[in-house]
């Protein structure tokens, strides 16, 4: 098949850069677009081209944005005194969709991980520190993942906040609603146990 068309071979190969897409799925996608949905394919090509060309990072929060300052940071109705720090744009999207949070964000685009070559500089912590120094933020919500590297990042962020005299809080991680202790995995249970609260 690919021998018949070098362009098709190139398309199949290019599609494999998508997460979770191997040779078989890439071939199926390419053929589907050529056979049944050339309009959709053209739209995809143009959206990809535009996005790769024009999307950069917001100068305030580092989230993806085609403007210097993204729509969330530019929104004057959001609380300017609370800052939520997340690892990735998808974490930000999850919080926006699931909670009523109306404060500011900072996106690390990673987590502290020396063996992956990610240190404070790569996470933009100079920019974050500068933002804390502006004096407008009074609380920093640390929403990094409950992994070893996410916890290490949270600790480092906590030190940054306390050096700037800002209150830092950490997301609670616990037993999922509707879950039973017996079936909760041990690390979740250990987290929930460590973060227990007084019964009111």
């Amino acid at each position: 098949m690919s021998a018949s068309s070098p362009l098709l071979a190139e398309l199949i190969d290019a599609l494999r850069c998508l997460p979770g897409v191997g040779g078989k799925s890439a071939q199926r996608m390419a053929i589907q677009l050529l056979e049944r949905d050339r309009g959709g394919g053209r739209r995809l090509a143009s959206a990809l081209e535009q996005a790769m060309e024009r999307i950069g990072n917001c100068s305030r929060c580092r989230n993806f944005s085609e403007d210097e300052v993204c729509a969330v940071c530019a929104n004057a109705t959001r609380d300017p005194h609370i800052l939520c720090v997340v690892e990735s744009p998808s974490d930000l999207a999850a919080i926006e969709q699931a909670t009523g949070y109306r404060g500011q964000y900072f996106v690390l685009l990673g987590r502290l991980s020396p063996l992956d070559g990610t240190g404070p500089e790569e996470l933009g912590l100079h920019a974050l520190a500068a933002r804390l120094e502006e004096g407008e933020i009074s609380e920093m919500i640390i929403a990094t993942n409950p992994t070893v590297e996410g916890e290490a990042t949270a600790h480092y962020l906590g030190r940054l906040a306390s050096a700037a005299g800002i209150r830092a809080t950490r997301l609670a991680h616990g037993v999922p609603l509707g879950g039973e202790l017996e079936y909760v995995d041990r690390s979740t249970l250990a987290h929930a146990f460590g973060g227990r609260q007084a019964v009111e």
Binding site: P19, G20, V21, G22, L112, S113, P114, L115, D116, G117, T118, G119, P120, E121, L125, H126, L128, A129, E133, T147, V148, E149, E151, A152, H155, Y156, R159, L160, A163, A164, D185, R186, S187, T188, A190, G194
Partner: protein, 239 residues
């Protein structure tokens, strides 16, 4: 094909590998540092749980091996969940980077596994990290065959004078110098490290600089990433 069962091990680092797998850098008790592929662990129906493969947890691994990389067959956490916290957690990431950067794969070093387990339990117990880290660095170098010379002057073979100052040559040992020499340590600092006695704060500071110099030498002059997040005091981003 080699089959290994119930091998005591720690995960030092995990990264995405192929479509749904993880490539784990592990420290095993009997086979040293080992690259282990955990197949399908990032997929939704995985039998193995990602959370069981976090660093610092004592594990028993079942794996098969053909060629350089092993394939994970089973994993069982041993003992309570290891929960390093705070500076102990950052120190743990530093220890993992050090082990990966200094130890070649599949080169068993007797003593290293025990030294590693020991530093984790010290960090887990909430000890201030500086002294446990210096002891681990000393033990790691010894396990790798680069044991430090901490008792005698490298130039004249005389026993170290606790009150005198020395400049430590990474490939030789201590040489007597003046107190103003950059990175000079006192004889008593080196003797404390040799005798496993915790020195005072000034001594600990001097040993920290010295060990960094020695490690940098064994790393071929390169820096560790973790050094940038381990500076004492307020984080460098604010200075």
């Amino acid at each position: 094909m080699l089959l290994v069962q119930q091998q005591p091990a720690y995960v030092l680092h995990a990264r995405a590998y192929r479509e749904t797998s993880l490539l784990l850098e592990c420290l095993t008790r009997d086979h040293g540092r080992l690259g282990v592929v955990a197949r399908g662990v990032r997929g939704p129906r995985s039998r193995l749980r990602r959370a069981d493969l976090e660093p610092f947890q004592s594990l028993a691994l079942d794996y098969s091996q053909r060629g350089e990389l092993a394939t994970l067959r089973g994993v069982e956490p041993i003992g309570a969940l290891n929960r390093l916290r705070g500076d102990g957690l950052l120190s743990g990431l530093y220890v993992n980077e050090l082990v990966v950067r200094l130890c070649a794969r599949q080169d068993a070093q007797p003593g290293l596994f025990d030294a590693y387990a020991e530093i984790l339990s010290r960090l887990d117990a909430g000890a201030a990290p500086a002294w446990p880290l210096r002891r681990f660095e000393r033990d790691l170098l010894q396990a790798l065959g680069y044991a430090m010379q901490l008792r005698y002057d490298a130039q004249d073979g005389e026993a170290l004078d606790p009150q005198a100052f020395y400049r430590y040559q990474p490939d030789g040992g201590p040489e007597r110098c003046g107190p103003q020499t950059p990175q000079a340590v006192r004889g008593e600092d080196l003797l404390a490290l040799a005798d496993d006695r915790c020195p005072d704060d000034d001594g600990l500071r001097r040993l920290r600089v010295l060990m960094r110099d020695v490690l940098r030498f064994h790393l071929g002059g390169t820096e560790l990433r973790a050094w940038r997040m381990l500076r004492p005091g307020p984080p460098p981003a604010l200075r």
